[in-house]
Symmetry: C2
Subunit: 422 residues, 2 copies
């Protein structure tokens, strides 16, 4: 089945906003084993829209159109859809009532120009939008079924998942039950992960599980797309693959599905009734910024300390003697001091010794980090190469992931792909 996407709107065409709706749509379809073949972006311009609809209607079986369903004069999707489909616009009384109720619930009067949002091409199938006033709809243009969606990301997401994906799966004749299992890891590069997981797909029958990756440094997302007759069938097919991925990735899996590294750290601390102090240097507050603002963190993250110079780090952490250099022992001493100073059960210290000179791709930093509790400490040393930002991002993740490992009773010194072996 040939699927195309048409993105509309001057804001997207002029680059004023980056088109994240498109990558969202495409990734979501991929998750369900559906692939896009073509994407077109045009502005709020009648001729361009009409031509884009006509061309896609000649080439594709299904087309998702994003944007142009709003109440203002530059929202043209319904008008041009009707023209391309060769029908008139007609008022959808049901949607008008829905909109009026929407405004009443919010103690507001519906502005008259919102009526435009209930004008749909005659005979269009309504695609429900439970979170906004833009009415989605489907019509046939040429040989393709067109699905019109709102530009507001939240509304698009809901409509795509609830209304459009099921229709596309039915249309494609694929089994309709699809499930996406995700693993998040830190420390394994994409090509290494690909090698590590070679053959896991074969553990499920008939190619019913497909493996994919999405790298966003420093984390890697590993995706298993499973297909079956129903969820029980999917779970059965997925189980051996899932178990094998867990076995091969081992300690490197930091979270699964919608969970995040910082969320896992927070809930591990919550479970052991722990509290946390963080000391950081060149990461400059980024470690604290990942975790301390989360709901619930106000009771757990006791204090974050940022200082760039080692003597200031020591002063801030309450360490009287300033060590000569940044080493594992220094990081342990700083973490221990911070733990005692703040009375937190756990302290994480991430200290970085940066190379001299200007930023460049070979620019590196040596990370020394430690985790201290009342009677114990663990530490690691690592060298990260790749420019100032790369070192900083890598150190943030390494600090949080070592803390996760420590809280889960795993080794904090396991080799990762992003460090330089010396």
């Amino acid at each position: 089945m040939r699927i195309e996407v048409i993105c509309t709107g001057d804001e997207v065409l002029t680059g004023k906003i980056v088109n994240t709706n498109f990558s969202y749509i495409s990734q979501k379809l991929e998750d369900f084993g559906l692939s896009l073949i073509w994407e077109t972006t045009v502005g709020d311009d009648r001729d361009s829209l009409l031509l884009a609809f006509q061309l896609a209607g000649q080439r594709a079986d299904a087309v998702i159109v994003n944007g142009g369903l709003g109440p203002t004069v530059d929202d043209l999707s319904q008008e041009i859809a009707a023209r391309a489909a060769g029908v008139e616009l007609a008022l959808n009384e049901e949607w008008l009532a829905r909109m009026e109720a929407y405004f009443t619930k919010r103690s507001r009067v519906m502005p008259p120009n919102n009526i435009k949002q209930a004008m749909l091409p005659a005979g269009a199938e309504v695609l429900d939008n439970p979170v906004g006033t833009a009415c989605g709809f489907a019509v046939t243009i040429g040989k393709a079924r067109f699905y019109f969606t709102p530009g507001v990301p939240r509304e698009l997401r809901r409509m795509l998942e609830d209304q459009i994906v099921p229709r596309l799966l039915a249309k494609s004749g694929k089994q309709t039950a699809v499930f996406l299992k995700r693993f998040h890891s830190y420390g394994i590069g994409e090509s290494h992960a690909d090698t590590l997981l070679a053959g896991v797909e074969a553990l499920a029958p008939d190619g019913s599980v497909k493996l994919g990756f999405r790298a966003h440094y420093p984390q890697l997302e590993t995706k298993l797309t499973a297909r079956g007759s129903d969820m029980d069938d999917i779970r059965k097919k997925l189980a051996p693959v899932e178990a094998e991925v867990r076995k091969r990735f081992g300690n490197f899996i930091l979270a699964e599905d919608d969970r995040t590294l910082e969320g896992v750290v927070l809930s591990e601390l919550e479970q052991c009734k722990g509290t946390l102090a963080i000391v950081e240097s060149f990461t400059a507050g980024q470690i604290a910024a990942r975790i301390a603002h989360l709901p619930g963190a106000e009771k757990i993250v006791r204090r974050g300390i940022v200082a760039r110079e080692l003597c200031e780090v020591c002063a801030a952490a309450g360490l009287a003697d300033v060590p000569a250099a940044i080493t594992r022992e220094t990081a342990e001493a700083v973490a221990r001091a911070a733990q005692q100073l703040t009375g937190a059960t756990h302290a994480l210290a991430v200290l970085i010794d940066l190379d001299e000179g200007v930023d460049r791709i070979e620019f590196a930093g040596t990370v020394c980090l430690a985790i201290a509790t009342a009677g114990h400490a663990a530490s690691r040393r690592s060298r990260i190469v790749g420019g100032r930002d790369w070192v900083r991002l890598g150190a943030v993740e390494m600090g949080l992931d070592c803390l996760r490992r420590y809280l889960q009773g795993l080794p904090v010194t396991e080799r990762i792909d992003f460090e330089k072996v010396e």
Copy 2:
């Protein structure tokens, strides 16, 4: 002149990477008064590429193609460009020599598959790439001139600015000297800015200066695109408009051109031989993370302190008596204590009293911030509505901007558009 863009590559089509190259190209052309009319994304697929080239060649006068110039088998741009132009591929000896020199300089041997990067459609015009091995080129397909560019952002940028924009300006018959003047502000919304600056374009003769905005909350970028016969001519035309924008925006302009808010704060502190301590609560390290990692900040940002609970904030800042609530006076007391504790010349304290309950669009927070020096303090109180993230982002910017204002001798309490009037 009709200009189109074609983005190529499976990574972009499947949404694995968000297409920031496209928004970059489109914004850059807008900066020079050139507008895009159509964008197409296709994967690494011969049939799709050929069709995309043919269709654009029928519609447009100029087409920028991005991606597909690499050395691997899925890089197909040269091959399909040649087919669409009806010519053969031919080895460009000059580019081959350039590539060999590139590898020699890096003490590496050129892999044989890189030769592919020197195979260009016969008769193609070379577009120089001084920062990589992908050779840009221009050919004519249908009625359009096609410009082929690399997918690596750094290489694309250089080629677009140095090679393609001048060719497009010449082709469009526009005066070739163009200059972009930019102002960064915080506290004025886009529509308010539009009203404030009404009529400024008319201060330059013959519509030679065009006004535009790019909002990225909480900052707003105001752009003046000026055109003239040469830079002297442009400066003369731009001067009255520039002066008027500065006059109408006044204290709200936080930086111009490539400068940033955090960079301005840092250089103001540098100039007065100052040092800085930062105390933050719900912003959770984000204020420190904006400034403390910058080159040179290691001598200036003395310490950052993060704590979520008021009693912890006070303990960390060295304030013995914990005030009952977060007020302007509390923020001043915390800032004063932190200034004394750290010995910094300046201390910024940004404390936030968050509403109760779950995150929602009406969720708000009260920001109390203060700046203290040895003998003086300034403070402000502000209420920001719009959800947890919105409050946090807004408070980070407000903190840094008030510090900028303080350092520049400007009032820190001026009304902004993003706060709720109570």
